[in-house]
């Protein structure tokens, strides 16, 4: 029986070794880029975010999911202070980027926005040449390097170079939807941001273009920290390392319900409400 016993022990120990939790990378170990601390936001009298506290780890993709009106886009736009452009916006709490509070007095949202790039729901290239699209951000921010080199590098990183290298002077609007969105990504990385915010970047694209963008996101995550708002659960499960589920209910608007590694959230969510949402039994 000794052989069997030791085999059993061996089996036990290997199964313990392969227990799922060891497959999940630990978020606690990762270095935090953005730290949202007890953050609330109001549009005039209407509250949009309630005491959100969440840390986004460096060089990972975090997906923000949740039903419409749950505050996920608001949270995204709070991180580069795009919400400031809307009249009557009021905030409480802090958002720290590399430990510095971007809502502290004296912080210029213009500088915040250079460090936190953004890609929008509908591809919105400037009605100018591909080259000018990429160079605009660099020029206004006083880029001193070689322009041609920058254009090529950004387009390569956005996996667009091979498709457009022969007509950089063509209008950005002449590209297909998927190419336009990649151009917008190239444009965003031209100002060397640390973080790229993506607000439903594929919702206006066909499935193949969507997959190309997702592929690109995985690639970019090696250098940038990416936050993506998506309504597409499959997309979140495909691209994201971590998933944050947000929700508004009768009492609280815009709260964080669950946050964890993608594999955990999609196989075994802790919250019943997350479960109901991702399995499509919401309401």
């Amino acid at each position: 029986m000794t052989v069997q016993d030791s085999t059993a022990t061996l089996l036990k120990s290997t199964s313990a070794h392969h227990s799922p939790s060891t497959y999940y990378h630990s978020m606690a170990e990762a270095d935090t880029v953005i730290s949202v601390r007890n953050f609330s936001l109001w549009y005039s009298k209407k509250r949009a975010l309630t005491n959100v506290t969440i840390d986004f780890p460096r060089n990972q993709i975090t997906a923000l999911i949740g039903p419409s009106g749950c505050g996920k886009s608001t949270l995204l736009r709070a991180i580069n202070r795009m919400n400031d452009l809307i009249k009557g916006v009021r905030t409480e709490g802090n958002i720290l980027i590399d430990g510095n509070d971007i809502y502290a007095k004296g912080v210029d949202p213009v500088e915040v926005r250079r460090r936190i790039g953004m890609v929008f729901q509908k591809p919105n290239p400037f009605p100018r040449s591909i080259r000018e699209n990429i160079l605009f951000g660099a020029k206004i921010n006083g880029y001193k390097g070689d322009y041609d080199q920058l254009v090529e590098e950004c387009l390569r990183r956005a996996a667009l170079w091979d498709e457009v290298k022969d007509d950089l002077n063509k209008s950005g609007l002449a590209l297909s939807g998927g190419q336009q969105q990649r151009l917008c990504i190239a444009r965003a990385i031209a100002v060397a941001p640390e973080v790229i915010l993506m607000d439903e970047p594929c919702s206006a694209l066909d499935p193949i273009s969507t997959l190309r963008i997702e592929e690109l996101m995985r690639d970019l995550a090696k250098q940038y920290t990416i936050l993506v708002v998506t309504h597409n659960m499959q997309q979140a499960s495909r691209v994201a390392d971590n998933v944050a589920f947000m929700l508004s209910d009768d009492v609280t608007t815009g709260m964080l319900v669950e946050y964890g590694p993608t594999s955990e959230v999609f196989t075994n969510p802790k919250s019943k409400r997350t479960e109901d949402y991702i399995t499509g039994r919401f309401g």
Binding site: N80, M82, L85, K87, V110, E111, R113, R114, R115, G117, M118, F120, K122, N124, P125, F126, P127, R128, S129, F136, G137, I140, N141, S171, L173, A174, C184, R187, A188, A190, V191
Partner: protein, 297 residues
């Protein structure tokens, strides 16, 4: 038709009657066509009358000669030169003022009570009868500033007339710039002015130019405010400096039509043709500019 596949009891609840529904549509199309034909007919009638009467007088001498007591020797040069001269100054004053005011109101003023008050006033000013501006010009420019009945006084007065139109049209053009373009620029770390300078204005420029040219066209056809400041009706010379006396086409035409000799009415028709051609040129310019900026990319 798939009607046969619809359950009978469900089909019974519909009274499709497609012919009648289509007939209603046709009636509407016919009414619309009639309306436009009516308008065109009146326009053609007017054009025919003017061309028929004015064409015989539309000679080189008419374009290069000054007014005269004799219909056959009357020329339009002084009025044409006065119009061009005055309009040049009008645009010089009104264009930068109007566009800058529009940018301020649309982009910077926000939603304050001040901006709202200005907004309401400008809308009102756009519909004030132009004679009122003429009276204002008479008091301020002609008398207080001592500019006399000069080209400059006329241009300043006319600038006042079209300023509200320019502001309203320019704001409309600025408003039509998609927010996504502004967002894209701001998200790259551009300041508000950089965003306006590099994206909003270039995008809106064709709309702004169109609005401005249409405003200028309106100014060319105006006579009331100039009559009020006392622009002359008999000018046997072209203005040489901004402070010279002058006349403009509408005043000249008005003057000719009010003379007793029947022949002068035909001279007036020739003047109208010249005015129409000037307007046509300006409108074509507006169309060309819009096309030019739109096809840039």
């Amino acid at each position: 038709m798939v009607v046969g596949q619809i359950p009978a009891q469900q089909a019974a609840e519909f009274s499709v009657d497609l012919p009648r529904r289509k007939a209603v549509g046709w009636v509407f199309i016919a009414l619309g066509l009639l309306s436009i034909l009516f308008a065109l007919f009146i326009l053609l009638l007017l054009l025919y009358d003017v061309v028929h009467r004015g064409l015989p007088y539309l000679t080189w001498e008419f374009l290069t000669g000054f007014d005269s007591r004799f219909p056959s020797r009357a020329g339009v040069l002084a009025a044409l030169a006065g119009t061009v001269y005055m309009m040049g100054f009008t645009i010089l004053f009104a264009l930068p003022l109007g566009i800058m005011a529009a940018i301020y109101l649309e982009e910077y003023a926000g939603d304050s009570w001040f901006a709202n008050a200005v907004q309401i006033n400008i809308s009102n000013l756009a519909s004030v009868p132009s004679i009122i501006y003429g009276l204002l010009g008479l008091q301020v420019f002609v008398r207080v500033m001592g500019l006399n009945r000069s080209v400059l006084a006329g241009a300043l007065t006319m600038a006042l007339v079209i300023l509200p139109i320019i502001i309203v049209a320019s704001r409309e053009a600025l408003r039509s710039v998609p927010p996504s373009i502004r967002d894209a620029s701001l998200a790259l770390g551009a300041t508000k002015w950089q965003t306006i300078r590099h994206h909003v204005l270039p995008y809106a420029v064709s709309g702004i130019m169109t609005g401005n040219i249409l405003a200028a066209a309106r100014a060319i056809g105006e006579s009331a405010p100039l009559i009020a400041i006392g622009a002359l009706t008999f000018v046997p010379f072209t203005p040489n400096s901004p402070l010279d006396l002058f006349t403009v086409l509408p005043i000249q035409i008005f003057n000719w039509t009010s003379r007793p000799q029947e022949a002068f009415h035909d001279v007036a028709a020739a003047g109208i043709i010249v005015l129409l051609v000037v307007l046509l040129i300006l409108n074509s310019l507006a169309i060309f500019l819009r096309w030019r900026f739109r096809t840039q990319f």
